[in-house]
């Protein structure tokens, strides 16, 4: 019946407390530099989701769900999706669906460059991060309610 206790041992919790912020930060970095270095919205989004999953595994689901509830994750995911689609539709302002509508694409090798690409990366990372977290929370929630029966 150990699994019913919220979270794991003290050692795990301490180390999680130290690392989880770093993991989140790394995810954000990967997203923002997606157009310059390896990575991008998907990898970064998964890393962000993993940081919350890490929290959930170490401290039990209540702590993680207090930070971001399943319903809110679902809403964020939706917003990410809508944002991505509207970026695509905004391309019509330049004449085409998915047109890279920034005239000035910025200087290469700088953070603010490449037009819609960083924006798309952010939208995707929101969507992927929140979506995967919602999947995971749903699966865990289901398992734990099954145990109670």
């Amino acid at each position: 019946m150990k699994s019913l206790e919220p979270g794991m041992t003290l050692i795990v919790k301490t180390i999680t407390r130290l690392t989880v912020g770093l993991i989140l930060l790394y995810g954000v970095y990967i997203v923002l530099h997606g157009h310059l270095t390896p990575g991008g919205g998907f990898a970064g989004g998964v890393i962000i989701a993993l940081s919350f999953i890490h929290l959930m595994l170490a401290f039990g689901r209540e702590v993680a769900l207090k930070k971001i509830s399943e319903a809110r994750a679902s809403v964020i995911e939706n917003l990410g999706a809508v944002m991505f689609l509207s970026i695509a539709v905004l391309g019509f302002s330049g004449g085409y669906f998915f047109f890279n509508f920034f005239v000035n694409k910025g200087r290469p090798f700088h953070l603010f460059s490449a037009g819609i690409i960083p924006l798309c990366n952010i939208a995707i990372s929101l969507k992927v991060g929140a979506g995967l977290f919602a999947i995971f929370a749903a699966l865990i929630l289901f398992r734990s309610s099954e145990k109670e029966e």
């Binding site: 990967i30 997606g34 157009h35 310059l36 270095t37 390896p38 990575g39 991008g40 919205g41 998907f42 990898a43 998964v46 890393i47 989701a49 993993l50 999953i53 595994l57 679902s74 995911e77 990410g80 999706a81 991505f84 689609l85 695509a88 669906f97 998915f98 890279n100 920034f102 694409k105 910025g106 290469p108 090798f109 460059s113 490449a114 037009g115 819609i116 690409i117 798309c120 990366n121 995707i124 969507k127 992927v128 979506g131 995967l132 919602a134 999947i135 995971f136 749903a138 699966l139 865990i140 929630l141 289901f142 398992r143 309610s145």
Partner: protein, 175 residues
């Protein structure tokens, strides 16, 4: 050379994953295949994929372990086990035999044709402003694909949430 070794390692781990009886060991062995794949991507000069594969692999492993843990079961083998296995193996050998002849027609390994790709490499940075050409392709040249890909994930999330519902039907008094 190191690529062949990695591939052999992946094949070995895959065989272990398929044949070992314990489900948890099997899941861990498939994790080894995924790790090998991630390294192979690195050797093949695909750092974007290596990162993505690594993190996706971790997530898949966590999900699979949550699913399998403490649900270990004895294996059953159906009556015509030998016949079925032999026929499956024979068809796989036939498949590989034809694949061999087909693969010989491909461009030699290490020398792709790269018609469209040369255009991307030559002018991708100038046209999109991104220095990571893979990002330039997935979010600009082929951004429509990525919209589809993001939608696939969205579909899966909604699908999982729909499947996980406790009750599907609103029950009437007599069903």
């Amino acid at each position: 050379m190191e690529l062949n070794i990695l591939l052999l390692f992946m094949i070995f781990s895959a065989i272990v994953a398929v044949q070992v009886e314990d489900l948890l060991s099997s899941v861990i062995a498939v994790g080894a295949v995924g790790l090998g794949l991630s390294l192979a991507f690195l050797v093949l000069k695909a750092p974007d994929l290596a990162i993505t594969q690594l993190v996706v692999e971790i997530l898949c492993l966590i999900i699979l372990i949550r699913a399998t843990i403490k649900k270990d079961l004895p294996f059953s083998t159906s009556g015509r086990w030998v016949f079925n296995t032999v026929s499956t193996l024979v068809s796989i050998v036939v498949f590989l035999f034809f694949a061999y002849f087909a693969l010989r027609q491909l461009p030699r390994f290490g020398a792709p044709i790269m018609r469209v790709a040369e255009e991307y490499i030559a002018s991708g940075q100038e046209k999109t402003g991104a220095t990571n050409l893979v990002a330039a392709i997935i979010l600009d040249f082929r951004g429509y694909d990525t919209l589809g890909e993001a939608t696939v994930l969205f579909t899966a999330v909604i699908g999982v949430l729909a499947i996980i519902r406790k009750t599907g039907r609103i029950k009437n008094e007599e069903s």
